[in-house]
């Protein structure tokens, strides 16, 4: 009963490794399906969600906060889906969203630039120089996206439990290593980790419900006690408070909900 998130640089064989791991463990392999689910649940065109999950928000978009809203919807769909357990997720920033859940193995797949360039040259019929620029552009885009949403560099190895240079291991052995890690007792789900996951799902749902009206909120939940942190001033905070109750009315599992205005949100908040 484990969840595996695989973060990958472009053309690092991450998708193939994820498929292999899912097949070996009998887990569901999940990537873009999350976008579909979010699209259905929140009635947002999938293409907009996909764009929000790929490109860092521009200055104008930051002012409009629309992209943050889309990302919150995808996060909510992802959290709900992975709460079912036995999942290999290799979409965007799963490791960031699920960082505080103990039964999640966070894997980073890397490959040397030479190897990646050769794949791009072969797949895209590009010259070596063009392939190099292509990869650099993709990497920078992902770095920018993660930085803008989570304030971290996705290449920071401390974010992961396992970092694998796949061409060095070979795909089979890399997948095998991940599977063995997933079977370790420290990654097995426990009542506490399940509770954490349920709280994450709840926090994501609340955030998705609020983010359109209040893009600056951050949400945590502990055993159904939801805390909404708002950076708004006191006057605006009153408005947030009055709206939170009505916006969250349809969400099940809330034991208590509070809005803290002006207090710094903890790192675990979504």
């Amino acid at each position: 009963m484990t969840v595996i998130t695989i973060s990958r640089g472009s053309k690092s064989m991450g998708t193939a490794v994820a498929d292999q791991v899912a097949e070996t463990l009998g887990y569901e392999c999940l990537s873009r399906a999350v976008l579909l689910e979010a699209s259905e649940q929140y009635d947002i065109p999938e293409i907009k969600l996909a764009k929000a999950m790929q490109d860092a928000p521009s200055i104008l978009e930051r002012l409009g906060h629309r992209k943050h809203s889309y990302v919150a919807c995808v996060q909510s769909a992802l959290a709900r889906h992975v709460a079912r357990d036995d999942i290999v997720y290799h979409g965007y920033a799963g490791h960031m969203l699920l960082k505080n859940v103990s039964h999640v193995v966070k894997v980073r797949i890397v490959a040397g630039m030479e190897h990646r360039v050769s794949i791009v040259m072969h797949q895209e019929s590009l010259s070596e120089a063009d392939a190099f620029h292509y990869i650099q552009k993709m990497d920078k885009g992902r770095q920018k996206w993660t930085k803008s949403l989570y304030g971290v560099d996705p290449t920071d190895v401390t974010l992961y439990d396992l970092v694998l240079n796949v061409p060095r291991f070979g795909m089979e052995d890399a997948a095998d290593l991940i599977c063995r890690s997933a079977r370790l007792k420290q990654f097995a789900s426990t009542p506490d980790s399940k509770r954490d996951m349920a709280d994450l799902v709840l926090a994501c749902e609340v955030k998705a419900a609020l983010v359109e009206e209040h893009p600056d909120v951050a949400v945590t939940s502990k055993s159904g006690n939801v805390l909404v942190y708002s950076a708004a001033g006191d006057r605006h905070g009153r408005k947030v408070r009055s709206q939170v109750e009505s916006l969250c009315q349809s969400i099940d599992g809330i034991n208590n909900i509070e809005v803290h205005v002006g207090a710094a949100a903890p790192e675990s908040a979504v």
Binding site: T190, D192, S223, N225, P266
Partner: protein, 602 residues
């Protein structure tokens, strides 16, 4: 008009610097006062003896005695015990609540510091607001204004009036008696309350819940399951064998209840355990919270809920420990800091239960909320620990609590000595500071309050603010600066009737009290007003009285301590104070001048 000489220029520069520093608040106002106290003799504007005569003035001695008497009354629970009966009288109607609490607060603040009276009812008002769904903003401002107005009901109600006789002494004017101002003060309180009852809906800030009618007769906290209490739970012998470690903080986060004590066999006992403490197998846990939450905790964590307190039957009895509500004071060092930063649990060994702010009660993650003026902390701990926290002075304790050293049996003595002081003033016409100090001393001798507690209770900032500014008033008069300004003002306004002159003086006092402190305004304006009165044939005592009263006309800006205290909980903006404050200030001036005219025939 005489020409300015060097001394007058120096006094004017000193006044300008003082006013500037009062406004910008780069330095605390009491430090500004001390600065003046030192600078004046150095410039040769007053003698060294005059510079420090403020410290031995009747005003300073009176305010020290008033504070000690107030602390004595507080110690016996006499004042705190008013809260419950007043709320009973207040009932469920907004007007009655405002009237009952305002009258009581005004009455208390006529003998105690205004801020203490205002803080006393804050938690109770929050509960009433929540229970009856009346916005805090509708209740707090009228009550806060009444606390300020109540200060005008006796000569010891506020610092300006305490100071008045001293400032008049250098002009050889007959001092005012303790209750000489009472009719005017009572009229001001009455008009203030009436104003809010009649015009409240227009001058108080509008809220989203304005349309909602108060729920008459509703008793929100009647439900036994939602009323918090202490329960005893036991962990099974194998509690930690089959689960991950659970800490005191985990239980709080998960169930919004508070572990207030843990007993581990054979003899380990801890009250207010730190949030990082693990809950072990086979221990007894004292938990404070609503019954439904406790039952949920017991069920989900597999704990045994005891039908009654057994292990904690002694440790957590009302005689040993309890819950209090404490308000973050306006000048508290807690403001802007979180309980976590302050290591509150470890330092005071009391458990923060909830935090009340505006009309919200917070239970989750309150340790990380930066504290604000007027926040109400509900705390649980032993009386000894709560007492220790109380002595720190950062929090105003307001509940009718059974704090360990609450000396109910001394209430008779406290009442007796207050009566003695009043009788000495009224019947024997003895000097006010002597009478008040007799009352204070009586309370110390009869052990209502210890001498150490008395020293601790004295607000030295107020003492030095008064003492430091008194020589400035003397220098203003002595150098002829007061007369010079007074003549200038009189020439500016031309020949005028006494009543208009009183109005002008009161208007000046109102303006000055808003930008500099009420004490500063009094010290600067009393000599000025007396000179103006002398020059125009008005009774100088009336001019001084107008200043003493009008410096309490501080409603337009939230600069008064009471307004600052209520601003946060009421969710007011400065514009809210301006709107209601302008109406109140105009009413204040009209009522004051009218009453002075009627009573003294001006």
């Amino acid at each position: 008009m005489d020409a300015l000489n060097l001394d007058m220029i120096l006094v004017l520069v000193t006044i300008a610097v003082a006013v500037f520093l009062f406004i910008v608040e780069w330095i605390r106002i009491d430090v500004v006062a001390i600065l003046i106290m030192v600078a004046l003799p150095l410039m040769g504007l007053v003698t060294p003896k005059e510079a420090f005569c403020g410290l031995s003035s009747n005003a300073v001695v009176s305010i020290i005695a008033v504070i000690i008497i107030g602390a004595g009354l507080d110690k016996t629970g006499l004042v705190n015990n008013l809260v419950t009966p007043v709320l009973r009288v207040a009932g469920n109607s907004t007007s009655r609540i405002i009237t009952a609490i305002s009258v009581t607060v005004a009455g208390i603040s006529s003998f105690m510091q205004n801020i203490g009276a205002a803080a006393l009812f804050l938690p109770a008002i929050q509960r009433v607001s929540k229970k009856l769904k009346i916005p805090m903003s509708k209740l707090l401002m009228p009550i806060g204004f009444s606390a300020i107005l109540g200060g005008t009901m006796t000569l010891v109600g506020c610092s300006p009036l305490i100071l008045l006789n001293d400032l008049m002494a250098q002009f050889n004017l007959k001092p005012f008696g303790l209750f000489d101002v009472t009719p005017i003060g009572a009229a001001l309180v009455f008009s203030g309350i009436t104003c809010f009852i009649l015009l409240g809906r227009w001058i108080l800030p509008k809220t989203e819940t304005d349309e909602a009618e108060p729920k008459a007769g509703s008793e929100a906290s009647d439900d036994g399951d939602t009323a918090a209490d202490i329960y005893e739970l036991r962990t099974p012998k194998d509690y930690t064998h089959y689960r991950e470690p659970v800490t005191v903080g985990d239980l709080r986060e998960r169930y919004l209840v508070n572990v207030v004590a843990i007993v581990e066999p054979p003899d380990y006992k801890i009250v207010a355990p730190p949030s990082t403490m693990q809950v072990h197998s086979g221990v007894s846990v004292g938990v404070f919270g609503p019954k439904d939450a406790i039952e949920r905790l017991a069920k989900e964590e597999d704990l045994e809920l005891m039908p009654q307190l057994e292990v904690f039957a002694e440790e957590l009895t009302d005689q040993e420990s309890g819950t209090v509500e404490a308000v973050v004071a306006p000048r508290s060092d807690l403001v802007g800091r979180t309980l976590k930063e302050l290591e509150f649990d470890a330092r005071y060994q009391v458990t923060p239960i909830s935090l009340g702010r505006q009309d919200e009660t917070y239970l989750s993650d309150i340790a990380n909320m930066p504290l604000r003026v007027g926040d109400v902390l509900e705390l649980h701990g032993t009386w000894k620990r709560l007492q220790y926290l109380h002595q720190g002075g950062s929090l105003l304790f307001t509940m009718p609590v059974e704090i360990e050293e609450l000396k109910k049996d001394k209430a008779v003595f406290a009442g007796f000595w207050l009566a003695v002081a009043l009788i000495m003033v009224i019947v024997f016409k003895i000097n006010l500071s002597v009478c008040l100090m007799t009352g204070a001393l009586g309370m110390i001798v009869t052990r209502v309050i210890t001498i150490d507690d008395a020293y601790h209770a004295v607000d030295w900032r107020t003492v030095f603010l008064l003492a430091g500014l008194i020589p400035l008033g003397m220098a203003t008069e002595k150098t002829g600066t007061a007369a010079w300004i007074a003549n200038g003002v009189l020439q500016g306004i031309g020949p005028t009737s006494p009543i208009v002159l009183i109005g002008v003086i009161a208007l000046l006092a109102t303006f000055f009290t808003l930008v500099i402190s009420n004490v500063g305004a009094t010290v600067l304006l009393v000599p000025l007003a007396i000179n103006m009165a002398k020059a125009s044939g008005l009774d100088p005592r009336m001019a001084a009285l107008a200043v003493g009263l009008a410096t309490s006309n501080s409603f337009i800006l939230p600069t008064h301590q009471v307004n600052a205290l209520y601003m946060g909980p009421g969710g007011y903006r400065s514009t809210d104070f301006m709107k209601a404050g302008v109406v109140m200030s105009v009413l204040f001036l009209v009522v004051m001048v009218t009453m002075m005219s009627v009573l003294y025939g001006i």
